[in-house]
């Protein structure tokens, strides 16, 4: 009898596999949720860019009102693509926009901001890339929406387009700003 049961083993393994496949088909493996959603901004200590004020030095910049935090670098082509949009967001004056430059040289970042315009309120310079890891950055640019209590509410991966701003980010910020 035992011997006969062994012959059913392959079937059993396949049945289990199929259950996983059926479930797996309904998911999108490309979607990467941020583990930081609904969590407070991780504590960090940063230096500013030399000669540029004010600097983003720690998490206290994110309390009191809704803020945007944008990770960028002068090496990043997609960052340049969203740069004009960031300038418009700044001009709109709805929220403070802070930036953290990573995987970059401070002089390159400064030159880049000089050449293309500087849309940021505060800029921090991540020398060790540790902060980018703390925030779970998978690429650049990435932008976080942080509420008045300093809790991360949303993460946008990739350049902010007109559409993303008008349909996702601005409604969310307005929603968060009205208690």
């Amino acid at each position: 009898m035992m011997r006969r049961i062994i012959y059913f083993l392959p079937l059993l393994v396949v049945a289990v596999l199929l259950v996983f496949f059926i479930d797996g088909l309904q998911r999108d493996p490309r979607k990467l949720p941020s583990v930081l959603l609904d969590r407070p901004v991780p504590a960090f200590a940063l230096e500013g860019l030399p000669g540029r004020d004010p600097a983003l030095t720690g998490k206290d910049a994110f309390t009191g009102q809704v803020t945007l935090l944008n990770f960028f670098g002068s090496w990043c082509v997609a960052c340049l693509q969203e740069h004009a949009m960031l300038s418009r967001i700044q001009a709109e004056g709805l929220v403070p926009l802070h930036g953290i430059a990573f995987k970059d040289q401070p002089e390159d970042t400064l030159r880049w901001l000089e050449r293309h315009g500087d849309p940021y309120d505060r800029v921090g310079y991540d020398t060790t890339n540790r902060i980018a890891i703390e925030f779970g950055i998978t690429g650049a640019p990435e932008t976080f929406v942080i509420d008045a209590a300093g809790v991360i509410q949303y993460k946008h991966v990739g350049p902010i387009t007109e559409q993303v701003w008008a349909q996702t980010l601005r409604p969310l910020i307005e929603d968060l700003s009205t208690p």
């Binding site: 011997r3 006969r4 012959y7 059913f8 392959p10 079937l11 396949v14 049945a15 596999l17 199929l18 996983f20 496949f21 059926i22 479930d23 797996g24 088909l25 309904q26 998911r27 999108d28 493996p29 490309r30 990467l32 949720p33």
Partner: protein, 676 residues
């Protein structure tokens, strides 16, 4: 009009396949020869209909008929003819059609060359083939019609992904499919044998060549894909443990196991139900590969057309095939009579160990590939499984396998003499130790080189062990030269096939180990006139210029490659190409080889901040990469040589017939190449 003919031919093919799937099966059940024999003309008809459909699609691609949606999506008038043709299978719908065509070709081959098969086995196997064809035809007709029209027809197509516009990749998918689909033959024969309730040496003898054909194509197909990744992706790597690569590697591993266990069935009439199971699993894994690549359940750099409805359909196909065949297996396999017994130290014993290790390796790679899916479904978070996992679990499985691979062929059937085999292998052992010490010292003698030196050592062990086994068989240096030559000429082709394939494996192992251990790279910005030294050679950057290709623009760098003494080896011209349809950049590495080491240069983006004419450049020192290609080519050649063995040859059916008459008593003397 022609696309409609193709579409109609597909529908007609479905009808033919349905007839072929049902009538011969009923005939075999009722022992009605006329119904059984219908399988043969039906196979021919099926091949003709699918052939017409494939020809119609190819025609649409060649004449650039953009009213066909598939042609519009994947072709362009500017494309060279070769890539117009390879565009036929460079997309989801067309590649499915190719898959079905190959299925039909294999059925046709059985119908034409399988005259010496017992009629019932042939009828059932062909009916099984037709059932698989029905499944795929339904899939293509209902979810992936390659002949869909668009109105009005666009003026030009969107073009083929430039990464795929490459001779290596033009032939990679057909080779892989020939491999995948080839395993369907082993599957169909396994199901037929289960229905009949009889597996004997004769059965194994019919299944083995089909498995061998599939294995040869899969081996070469994987090698071709790896070669393509190596020179086309521009990162100097040849294997990434990417899900799509694994999808072809998993059936390769179990197919290799099947190849070896079928020998045991053929020669010793045992391990039957295991071999049947392997045949089912190997083809199921081929189907699984298709499912994984096309359904989008796993992410991969090879983003193929992913579509959930298609995923559901393939999953259904997979589920019916696997659940159906394994249920049949659970029901019928216990009744298969097991044959001869053998001691652990014997040819059978070593082949069984080979099977255990290869199947474990296959299961492990499968687990690693599917783990992200499991974790996602169980809400354990998004994970990815990378090369560290695969290397950590795969290498420990391969080391004992390669060690035993040299010994196994030296052991006799039933009960082997381990001591005698070891004594005859002393030369290989000495050579392996010599290679180990030599590589260790040459590599610099630090702790991290021990593993690499060990790897080269076992490669040498296998290579020498394989050659010693051949030398033993021909009595090299032990008998007079004339006797040796006579014996060498008298050895069966299958024996030469094994020698070649095992030697190929040894060379492949050395290539993998040597390259993994001693590859170096250098990434920098270079201005014209700069020199970079790496791996004992130097690259002088002469500058870069714009060049125009037929459907792309490129920046072409020019480097002078010089050896340690300053002598010019070659001028290398890597390119960075920018295609317009679709807009995409690819990098064409320049590779210079001396037969052992590749010198690999890549030109990147311009870097004007670092001075006029400055570019990012990458150089890779790639020792032993050519060994990968020598090794896999030898393995494939070994398979082909083994296929030409007398006992597989068409037109020598007498012995097979006598086997059918007395299935319980395999004609051992003729089959065993060297009766000691």
């Amino acid at each position: 009009m022609i696309p409609e003919i193709g579409h109609y031919a597909l529908a007609l093919g479905l009808c033919v396949a349905l007839v072929q799937a049902i009538v011969p099966m009923v005939g075999a059940h009722r022992n009605n020869l006329a119904l059984m024999e219908l399988a043969r003309p039906a196979s021919v008809a099926l091949f003709l209909t699918i052939g017409v459909a494939f020809a119609a699609l190819t025609h649409s691609f060649i004449v650039s008929d953009f009213s066909v949606s598939n042609v519009f999506q994947n072709s362009h008038t500017d494309k060279p003819l070769l890539y117009k043709i390879s565009g036929v299978w460079g997309n989801h719908e067309g590649s499915l059609l190719l898959w079905i065509l190959i299925l039909a070709v294999f059925s046709l081959a059985v119908a034409l060359f399988g005259r010496n098969l017992p009629p019932q086995l042939r009828a059932r196997a062909l009916a099984m083939q037709a059932m698989i064809t029905v499944g795929f035809l339904l899939f293509i007709l209902f979810t992936s019609n390659p002949f869909e029209r668009i109105d009005p027809a666009p003026l030009n197509g969107r073009g083929l992904n430039p990464l795929l516009q490459d001779p290596g990749l033009a032939f990679h998918p057909p080779m892989l499919y020939l491999g995948y689909v080839g395993f369907s033959m082993a599957f169909s024969f396994a199901i037929a044998a289960l229905i009949e309730g009889r597996v004997d040496a004769a059965w194994a003898r019919w299944v083995r060549p089909w498995t061998l054909v599939a294995w040869v194509f899969l081996t070469l197909g994987i090698a071709l894909g790896s070669w393509w990744a190596y020179y086309e992706l521009g990162w100097g790597g040849w294997w990434y443990w990417d899900p799509v690569e694994n999808a072809s590697f998993i059936p390769w591993l179990s197919g290799t196991a099947l190849l070896h266990s079928a020998i045991v069935v053929e020669k010793r009439d045992t391990l039957k139900s295991w071999t049947i199971l392997l045949a089912i699993i190997t083809f199921s894994l081929s189907l699984l590969g298709t499912f994984l690549v096309r359904s989008g359940v796993l992410t991969s750099v090879h983003a193929f057309a992913t579509d959930p409805t298609r995923g559901v359909f393939i999953l259904l196909l997979l589920a019916i095939t696997v659940v159906g065949s394994l249920s049949l297996y659970a029901w019928r396999a216990p009744q298969l009579k097991s044959g001869g017994v053998f001691s652990p130290i014997s040819r059978e014993g070593s082949l069984l160990l080979n099977n255990v290790l290869l199947s474990t390796a296959s299961a492990t790679v499968l687990l690693g590939t599917l783990y992200p899916l499991f974790a996602d479904v169980l809400n354990l978070g998004k994970v990815s499984v990378g090369p560290p996992f695969f290397n950590a679990v795969f290498v420990p499985l391969m080391v004992p396998m390669i060690l035993v691979m040299a010994v196994g062929p030296m052991l006799a059937w039933k009960r082997g003499d381990a001591y005698g085999a070891a004594r005859r292998l002393w030369l290989a052992l000495v050579a392996a130790a010599g290679v180990f010490v030599a590589t260790y010292i040459l590599a610099g003698g630090s702790w991290i080189d021990v593993g690499a030196a060990f790897g080269m050592g076992i490669g040498a062990w296998l290579l020498l062990g394989t050659l010693v086994e051949w030398a033993e068989r021909v009595h090299l240096f032990r008998a007079s030269p004339t006797t040796t030559i006579k014996r060498a000429a008298g050895l069966p082709r299958a024996a030469y096939g094994m020698t070649l394939a095992h030697a190929g494996t040894a060379i492949l192992v050395m290539g993998v180990v040597g390259n993994t251990a001693w590859k170096t790279e250098s990434i920098q910005v270079m201005a014209p006139g700069d020199v970079v030294e790496i791996g004992g050679v130097s690259y002088l950057f002469e500058g870069a210029e714009r060049v125009e290709g037929p459907n792309y623009q490129a920046i072409q760098g020019r480097f002078h490659l010089r050896d340690g003494d300053g002598g010019l080896i070659a001028t290398m011209e890597p390119e960075k190409r920018r295609y317009s349809d679709p807009p995409m950049a690819t990098s064409e590495a320049a590779i210079q080889t001396d037969g052992v080491t590749d010198f690999y240069a890549v030109i990147g983006d311009p870097s004007p901040e670092d001075g006029p004419g400055a570019y990012v450049t990458r150089f890779y020192h790639e020792p032993f990469v050519p060994f990968l290609w020598y090794g896999t080519l030898l393995m494939g050649l070994g398979g082909i040589v083994s296929l030409t063995d007398r006992r597989h040859r068409v037109g020598a059916p007498t012995r097979s017939r006598s086997r059918v008459a007395a299935p319980g008593a395999p004609a051992e003397a003729a089959a065993t190449p060297h009766a000691r």
